[in-house]
Symmetry: C2
Subunit: 415 residues, 2 copies
């Protein structure tokens, strides 16, 4: 039996035992893991050094090296993340609905764990801990398949988690790490119907597309964000400027950062030249439509391809529109249903935008950068869903639950 | 462009227009469709006759011919189904959650349509109307791909629905029927990512497996039900007998009917011979484990394969177990997470069963036959989900919704 299948079996079996573990036991285990990670930080950093060395040899980009690198501070932050999960309410066993249909049955819809969750992600060792922590708290087993370039770090981290669980009533098999670096191990996981209940991919577009194209188990798609901000004719200038800058430059590498700024022509004619200068001061590379170039001739041309690109970088498309309807059509054409914003003082236009835009999060007068489990008050997140089934937008603990109907009868039979 | 792609584009485009249609407009259209179906019943029956004739020529089984056949009574029943959907509350635009995180934003989570739903089903023309009605009420466009043997009936039914919509503000393109009988049209639909938001397969195991294996768009799995009833040591004899008979023979062809009866050995020793006779009187073919055969030597042997079979027929496996734990293990091994029942007067055992069994619906002292949208009070159903994401169990209008976060700010930017 392959590593993936064997570990999936073990995890699934262990997930059944999780059902009878109390909230207190889960919280104690999470706290103990947080403590153990900090206590063993040197050995984690040692293991991480091996990954970093290999990464440099294999030409891993600077930004990926940065995501991969672990320091004492980062390990403390990861451990703090676990402690925050401890503070969250247990999402399992909650009664969502009580139904008393005319047949005399008493039906309770309650939350239950999903079962076995497959996480497929890149070279970010913090995801190993976050995902394991969120799955444990929500009563799920997890099978982790992180990027190969973080394998040494992940092995050490999972060893530490296993050592802690060994001293508890929670079977350590609820956390499994796939160590086979071959891509076949990913694809095998994607077809374990009946064992893996859902796969959550986190990472770049090619990773996510591979999962979508090859999975036969259910998938929660995450990630891609071509986010827009539309500045309406009746926008407050200061607010519009702040939001437009923040959405692009506060952290351009993330999925909720803005990629295209849509400007009503009247706003643009008065204010775009100045706004363009502000972007230039922040080293943002601007690409514009023909009208934008008339107002700031030094910027580059925006092509169809540019509007379809998630830069995740200091690059921004500018498009000047005749009216809100043109903005809505642009977003419908190029948006990825992630986060979209209108800045306006006109409440009718705000309502039109909030209603018409088909996205997980639609903003009126706030930066798209807020689409995030922490900012939404979920306390933690395992990713941001860009699909419409099960969960949409930031995924906290609740997203890791399913439901079950418990039906209490007094001998009812169907007529 | 292929028929499937063209119709999916038209439906998706039309779905955006549905967003501004009021509940009253949707209800008026549904009522008008119900009226028109009854008014045009002769022409539907004529079209259906062609399907039935072809079916007979192609050797369609008697039971499939029965499912395919339309009569005046059946058309009236189908129209009544639509009128029931009119009476249901509009599931769209409901505020599910209001969040006021510390960043000062005001976040509203509201229900929205999923978008474009693909229905893949067999030769049951009533599904054409049910699915179109449920999708319309929930603001979704639908692309219907029914069984080829019902094509003539479906074409006539959809014509009637289109004629009605033509006289309303609802674009008729929200209901699309695929007329290409080739299986390639199914498989094309399964890979229209970005156009089709979800596919719901309804039908036999091979239809559903084809969808799961080939879909890259999200799927809601429905259907397979190997359901068990476990009669505990401390069961009430009359209740146990009624439930055990009802779960098998009230309508054996459906997914919530029982396929295996698990009996505690003490109950079995006293009562199984008599229960076996009752099944024999109802022409149920019994297959039993070795112990069951000792108590009723005339029954057949039950094999491993039998325990894995969804008979949907007058056949039943009997297994005698030492204790409730053995029953739980049997259900974990052979169950399909659909509907499972315990009959007992022992509340501790009931609780253990309800907690431990991983299924959409777990019953205490009631027949598994109740797993159904109508019985649960949902008013209608588009299928029964046997997966754990998005929706589990009977799927009513709510299952056809997604959510959207509307975020109201006052100029907030991320720090």
């Amino acid at each position: 039996m392959s590593e993936v299948k064997k570990k999936a079996y073990l995890a699934k079996e262990a997930s059944h035992k999780l059902a009878s573990i109390t909230t207190e036991q889960k919280n104690n285990a999470l706290t103990a893991i947080a403590d153990a990670l900090v206590l063993n930080k040197e050995s984690i950093i040692e293991a991480n050094k091996i990954d970093l060395m290999n990464g440099k040899q294999n030409g891993l980009s600077k930004s990926l090296q940065d995501r991969l690198a672990l320091s004492t501070d980062r390990i403390i932050a990861i451990a703090d993340g676990l402690r925050q999960i401890v503070d969250l309410k247990d999402p399992i066993g909650k009664t969502i609905e009580e139904i008393r249909p005319i047949n005399g049955l008493y039906i309770k819809k309650i939350t239950v764990p999903i079962g076995l969750i497959g996480m497929i992600y890149e070279a970010r060792p913090n995801v190993t801990v976050d995902a394991a922590g969120l799955c444990l708290k929500s009563g799920n087993a997890v099978i982790l398949r992180g990027g190969t370039s973080a394998l040494s770090s992940n092995i050490r981290i999972v060893e530490i988690m296993h050592d802690v669980l060994d001293k508890t009533d929670i079977p350590k098999d609820v956390i499994q790490l796939i160590s086979n670096p071959d891509r076949s191990s990913v694809n095998e996981m994607l077809t374990l119907n009946g064992l893996v209940d859902v796969v959550i991919p986190r990472g770049g577009a090619s990773l996510i597309q591979n999962v979508i194209q090859n999975a036969t188990v259910p998938v929660i798609e995450t990630g891609a964000g071509i986010c827009h901000t539309y500045i309406d004719k009746e926008a407050n200038l200061t607010m519009a400027t702040n939001i437009a800058l923040n959405a692009k430059i506060q952290r351009p590498s993330v999925c909720n950062a803005m990629e295209t700024l849509l400007l009503h022509k009247q706003f643009a004619e008065t204010h775009f030249p100045q706004l363009a200068n502000l972007y230039r001061e922040e080293n943002v590379d601007l690409k514009g439509c023909a009208k934008a170039k008339q107002l700031a001739p030094w910027i580059n041309d925006a092509t169809e391809d540019d509007y379809n690109t998630e830069y995740n970088d200091y690059t921004l498309n500018i498009k000047i529109v005749e009216h809100i309807e043109e903005a809505l059509i642009h977003i419908k054409t190029y948006g990825t249903h992630h986060s979209e914003c209108i800045v306006t003082e006109n409440s009718q236009n705000a309502e039109l935008f909030l209603h018409a835009v088909d996205a997980a999060a639609v903003y009126h007068n706030a930066s798209t950068r807020f689409t995030d489990g922490f900012e939404f008050g979920f306390g933690a997140e395992i990713g941001i869903s860009t699909q419409k089934l099960h969960v949409r937008g930031p995924m906290g603990l609740e997203a890791l639950t399913s439901t079950k109907y418990r039906i209490h009868g007094t001998g009812q039979t169907k007529k």
